[in-house]
Amino acid sequence: MKLSDPYNVSELRARAIVVSVLFGVMLGLLLLRLWYLQIWQGETYREFSDRNRFKIEKLSAPRGQLLDRNGKLLADSRPRFDLTFVRGNAQNLEYELKLLQNIFHWTDPEFEKRMAKITQAPMYQAQSIAQDLTPEQLALVESQSLELPAVDVEVIAVRDYLYEDSLFHILGYTGEINDRELESLRLRFPERNYKLGDQKGIIGIESLYEGFLRGQDGRDFIVVDVKGRRVNQDQWRMLPSAVRIEPVAGKTLQLTLDQDLQLETVKAFKNQVGSAVAIDPKTGQILAYVSRPALNPNIFTKPISNSDFDSMMKQSDNPFLDRVVGEHYPPGSTLKLIMAAAGLESGSINPNTTFYCPGFFRFGNRVWKCWKHEGHGKMNVVSAIARSCDVFFYNAALLLGLDSMFSWSLRFGMGRRSYIGSEVFSDNQSRPDRLARFNTEASGFIPSVDWVLSKRLTSVEAETINAGIGQGAFTTTIIQLARMIAALGNGGKVFQPQLVLNAQKPSGEVIRNYQSQLESHFILSEETKKAVLQGIEDVIGEPQGTAHGSRIPGVHFGGKTGTAQVVALDLSKSSRRVDYRDHALFVGLAPIDDPKIAVAVIVEHGEHGASAAAPIAKMMVKTYLDKLAAEAKTEEKPIEKTEGKAHEKL
């Protein structure tokens, strides 16, 4: 191998000295700086490291408040005090734990469990050993803090639900983020800064509007001495300016719910299983949203053991199920309203069309019964709605045809998700949150000719006859039924139901108002409207109407009863099993000529719509209309006064 230009090397030798001087000076400067830090300032720094311990304190941000439509507080934030234990700070680990055992009255196994948790943890990692201390416990711990150097009290903001289980499914609940979820949450929402143990909304509004409700945690840099006592910050001259970052509370959401109506509805359910929802037909706002049974969301603000959670999940009445949007039911006779409107609009029947009801209906070699064995006699569309004659609608359905039923049901908003609560995301073009359906909303199902032919379970005609009275493959959700009756009352407007009136700053200043999204709008002829509305009025108003018992004096209250079969008819009649009993349904509208409230109610295994579901609907309508009347009265008189008050509030 050849040497490269060896004769010039001598020139480089002198240059090498230049570089060695450069390096030497640099290293010398480092040594000078080290002398400054370790000798000149050494004592000061030694003090910092000897006497002081620095700690970053998390300042937990409260979640946004939830208010009802009148500004009544539904869910608030409260501080939760937890105890943490740092093994490395303990002087006598066992002694300190024994002291705590006396305060908290742990049993020996509970004590051992904590002991194991602490001794297995890394030296200086804080371990949570007690949550949600009572003021008494807190006072006891504070009073002995000198003997408990390893113990620290942590404050985090958690939810406080003011009305226990009455708003469980609509508001949802919050719980701690575990390590399994953390990674995926961080990836999906990097801007939210999720940390282990943070609170997060799990179902309902808490989950859907997590991005609004979640606050931003703050932090403080505090100096504590070896015993864990706080040292005056002024002594630490290295912090020239304030270093505290204040937590930012989440946004307050004012909901469309009316809490008085909500509570009355819950009360009306007693111990029955089912759900009810009330919508303002003109605006599409949800006024009440009840699903029973429900749980008290406050129990989830503390870490909950897996076995407790599993036993709740396994409860036979499934309290986690949202029966307003999350469960399919056959619409039963409530569907007759769509059948009637569709028949009249398409011309397959007219207001004067009559069918004779002998109590049964024969088609081919099969017989369909009317719920009334002795038969209704001659029926037109109005009386058939009022008395819920099945035979009339078997005939009407056959005349109408399955595909025509299909398209009319779609117009009334059946067979698809209502996308309740999506008004908040309406201007977000990519709408990622729409993928997260409210409480995993179900879509329902409308049978079509194609579907029947592809399945071959039954003939098209049989499916058509069944669909005429809302049985067969037809399924719906309770929110769809409420949307349907609301559309009947408001002239064909199908809304995506609205949950949030406005978002506010924690101070109460409104950031943005929301409006429900009009999903579709269909027009019914005056004749059709008149006939169907007369029908629902007679359901309650006429002595022979199926829900005459639920009339409200002085109120134009209309509705339709329904019975959703759980098992085949003869089986439910012959068996005494409660879970074979039919579901009771009721949809209602009031006042009919100027609708202010539309309701849909189901009572599972309640058997008869008139006796089980209609009274609940009546209670809801009455409560809400009475309240509106009372408000109108107070508003009429002292107008100036209330205005003044409103300003004061702002």
Binding site: M1, K2, L3, S4, D5, P6, N8, V9, E11, L12, R13, R15, A16, I17, V18, V19, S20, L22, F23, G24, M26, L27, L29, L30, L31, R33, L34, W35, L37, Q38, I39, Q41, G42, E43, T44, Y45, R46, F48, S49, D50, R53, F54, I56, G88, P122, M123, Y124, R219, F221, M238, L239, P240, S241, V243, I245
Partner: protein, 371 residues
């Protein structure tokens, strides 16, 4: 090539640079002891892994010694092109760690091309200057430096884009040292320094990313955000300072044990050392690196050809600039840019780069008597 330089021969061992290897061995030993102190409470496996890394590293340095460095003269440009290609590849297909693309997964090994880039720059500059005939008498002006700017600038920009500010600066420092060594004209040096001073604030504003600007701001005022970026710097200074003259004693450093000092086994390991051994320890360690500088310069001066001299200078520059920048950031005179302390910080990648540099120095050293 003469055959007498093969490893088994007595000539090899008599020419072997025992002083260089002894110094490196001593630094590694002190480093390992510090690493043990930093990790024995929580992460013992790190210490064991580092022993393995160091053993492998010495093996690499020995292999480097055996290989005649002159072979690199031919390989310089191909290697340089390969590294640039890898840097482009890592930007396209690299593994992302903490938001920057630095690693190229190759089966079980993760290759970090930016580490290789430091070596590639040294090789390619040595090759460039060894064949350069002009300018030596008068020094280099800007015109002569243009190709050098191209050679250095390309990998620097690629590394910077990853983004890895620390390594990009390191490449720049090493290249600067080599150019300075190869007779930079005084006038050029002054113009160069002035233009850096002018360009720096512009680059700060338009080229650096937000988090990089943050580091610079934090360096200028560590109290600005003592919980975030300033935290490292402040805690590190407290750790070093609290060592005072004699230190707190081995295994007795509180700052690192109580985990007030972050990254106390990687980027901030010198602080942990200085806390336990005090100013005396600092003098000792800096003296060791000072000895390394003299040994390296000596190898460089004794080289019989220009290529070897420039190569040795580059290899020395890689090690020493790491020392200067790392210590500088640990004692609060340089921004925190994530540069490791050679032979001290835990981690295989940087250790292997540094051991390759030792191998180059040693290879040049052992062939000083070839005439």
């Amino acid at each position: 090539m003469k055959n007498s330089e093969g490893s088994g021969t007595p000539r090899f061992w008599s020419n072997f640079d025992w002083g260089l290897f002894g110094t490196i061995g001593l630094i590694c030993f002190v480093g390992l002891a510090t690493l043990y102190s930093s990790t024995y409470l929580n992460q013992r496996d790190i210490f064991i892994k580092q022993i393995i890394f160091i053993s492998v590293g010495f093996g690499i340095a020995l292999i480097g010694t055996i290989i005649d460095y002159r072979i690199f003269e031919r390989l310089a440009y191909p290697f340089y092109i390969l590294v640039v290609a890898l840097l482009i590849l890592v930007t396209l297909a690299g593994k992302s760690v903490y938001g920057s693309q630095r690693w190229l997964p190759l089966g079980p090994i993760h290759l970090q091309p930016s580490e290789l880039a430091k070596l590639a720059i040294v090789l390619v500059l040595a090759r460039f200057y060894s064949r350069e005939k002009v300018g030596l008498m008068h020094g280099y002006g800007f015109k002569e430096l243009l190709p050098v700017f191209g050679l250095v600038g390309l990998p620097m920009i690629l590394v910077f884009k990853q983004p890895d500010l620390g390594t990009a600066l390191m490449i720049g420092f090493v290249a600067f040292t080599v150019v300075l060594f190869c007779n930079l004209r005084m006038q050029t040096l002054i113009i160069f320094s002035v233009s850096v001073l002018v360009i720096a604030p512009i680059a700060y504003k338009f080229v650096l990313k937000e988090y990089q600007r943050d580091r610079v701001r934090t360096f200028l005022d560590p109290g600005r955000d003592p919980l975030g970026d300033g935290y490292h710097s402040i805690q590190s200074m407290i750790t070093v300072g609290s060592g005072q003259l004699m230190g707190k004693g081995y295994l007795k450093g509180t700052q690192s044990k109580l985990e007030f000092l972050p990254k106390h086994h990687t980027d901030f390991i010198f602080s942990a050392y200085a806390e336990e051994w005090g100013f005396m320890g600092s003098i000792f360690l800096i003296s060791l690196f000072m000895i390394l500088v003299f040994l390296g310069i000596d190898i460089c001066r004794k080289s019989k050809d220009k290529f070897g001299a420039v190569l040795a200078m580059g290899a020395l520059a890689i090690i020493i600039w790491h020392v200067i920048v790392n210590m500088g950031m640990e004692i609060g005179v340089l921004p925190v840019v994530g540069v490791t302390l050679p032979f001290f910080s835990y981690g295989g990648s940087s250790l292997i780069t540094n051991m390759l540099a030792v191998g180059i120095l040693s290879s040049v050293s052992i062939r000083r008597h070839i005439f």
